[in-house]
């Protein structure tokens, strides 16, 4: 069986059957993404590594809970990663530093070669579009988005962390998301 040619849902099916090779391919596709999310959230290599292990072990142990009708495999995996990282931040009272470096600056991004061709084209398009849109946001909007998305901070927590008025933070979040939606709709992404 050449697992690298299978799509993500098929791989999850083989993971359910305890095929380690399928998990290996999923890691090759999304290990870097998951590790990057965890590192962006915590700014700590050891914790990022721990979370990445937890995420893929969750995929391994709980593959049967994946529901294709609720979303793509990558959405499922990144959702696990996001909430696992936020959980670590909350439980361990971690105060990550360095949010300014969380979003990429270069919209000309290429995905790893390991993805199958069809998925690579689709994911590359999505990546480029969202990255181009994010690159057009003002720095202060990118920053509050990073706090909200990666660290799971609420409006009030972001306002406290940045020493800014609550209303200012709410406005930045709203304008950032509206702008992203507008830019993505212009390229017919949504």
């Amino acid at each position: 069986m050449e697992y690298t040619r299978l799509d993500d849902e098929a791989l999850i099916g083989f993971v359910q059957q305890n095929q380690e090779a399928a998990l290996s391919v999923l890691y090759d596709r999304y290990g870097r993404l998951v590790y990057s999310m965890a590192f962006n959230a915590l700014q700590d290599q050891a914790l990022a590594e721990e979370i990445t292990q937890d995420v893929f072990l969750r995929v391994w142990n709980k593959a049967e809970t994946f529901r294709a009708e609720q979303g793509k495999v990558v959405t499922w995996i990144t959702s696990i990663a996001r909430y696992r990282a936020i959980d670590v931040i909350r439980r361990r009272n971690v105060r990550p530093e360095g949010n300014r470096a969380t979003w990429v600056d270069d919209p000309g991004f290429e995905l790893p070669d390991a993805l199958n061709v069809e998925a690579e084209v689709e994911a590359s398009d999505s990546s480029r579009q969202i990255r181009r849109a994010m690159a057009q946001l003002p720095d202060e909007q990118r920053l509050v988005l990073a706090y909200a998305y990666f660290q799971g901070y609420t409006h009030s927590q972001i306002a406290n962390a940045l020493g800014e008025p609550l209303g200012t933070i709410k406005t930045r979040i709203r304008l950032a998301m509206q702008k992203l939606r507008q830019l993505l709709q212009e390229v017919d992404h949504l």
Binding site: L33, M37, K62, V104, R181
Partner: protein, 241 residues
């Protein structure tokens, strides 16, 4: 409905899960009634789903994959069953947490002792050892919108199913019911709808597509009668994850 009554300005933050509790409850209450805002919310949710692709990339350590594969192999070879705390430890933990409703505990005990009650007791009779007891419990606590509410989810020993017992919940009008959500990795699965009596007490037999023990947390929201595909109303009870 006037545009002023909608919650458009809060939907993007709701999709990001960064609203503070009061506004979150406000949005959820509105979403329960408004197709327009639910549709608008979906467009923001799609953006949130692709945000991971915009994060700055970091290179994982070279040995990370082998550690994961090694742990996966160990997990595969590990025994399927795990040692679980015995039932009185769960109850003791519940008491130590300052359970708000002693009456609720009594009702739990009554439920457990009921001779006709559920498959839990049938399974207990099948136990080979008296040291193996037939259930475990998960405590649910009230939220800011229902601070006096409390609940206990009693799971069968195998974690396959259980019964939710609640107390201190408001009586809803005929257009609304409480709905249980089974939560894992941010995904919420319908755990069924139920109502409470005039005394705020109610019980609900819970069945789910997966063993209940496989879910990381549980929540209860107010939904239109018959339930919703996803939570839209105010959250009234939640378990620790």
């Amino acid at each position: 409905m006037s545009r002023e009554a909608h919650v458009f300005n809060l939907l993007s933050a709701y999709a990001l899960d960064c609203l503070d509790a009061v506004e979150k409850a406000q949005v959820e209450a509105h979403l329960r009634e408004c197709d327009l805002c639910r549709a608008d919310l979906q467009t923001y949710r799609e953006i949130v789903q692709v945000l991971p692709l915009v994060g700055r990339e970091s290179e994982p350590p070279p040995g990370l994959k082998s550690k994961i594969m090694q742990r996966a192999a160990q997990a595969r070879n590990a025994p399927a069953t795990q040692n679980q705390p015995i039932w009185w430890e769960h109850l003791a933990a519940y008491f130590r947490k300052g359970a708000p409703a002693w009456g609720l505990v009594g009702l739990v005990l009554i439920l457990m002792l009921g001779a006709n009650n559920l498959l839990l007791w049938q399974r207990m009779n099948q136990l080979e050892s008296k040291a193996q007891l037939p259930f475990s419990t998960i405590v649910l606590t009230g939220t800011e919108t229902s601070p006096d509410a409390s609940g206990v989810l009693v799971l069968s020993q195998d974690g396959e199913h259980g019964t939710l017992i609640v107390d201190g919940l408001a009586v809803l009008d005929s257009a609304s019911q409480y709905q249980l959500w089974l939560i894992q990795d941010g995904q919420r699965t319908n755990g069924g709808v139920f109502s409470v009596g005039k005394d705020g007490y109610g019980s609900h037999w819970v069945s789910s597509p997966q063993p209940l023990a496989s879910y990381s947390s549980f929540g209860v929201t107010i939904e239109p009668t018959g339930g919703s595909p996803g939570p839209t109303g105010a959250k009234v009870l939640g378990s620790e994850s």
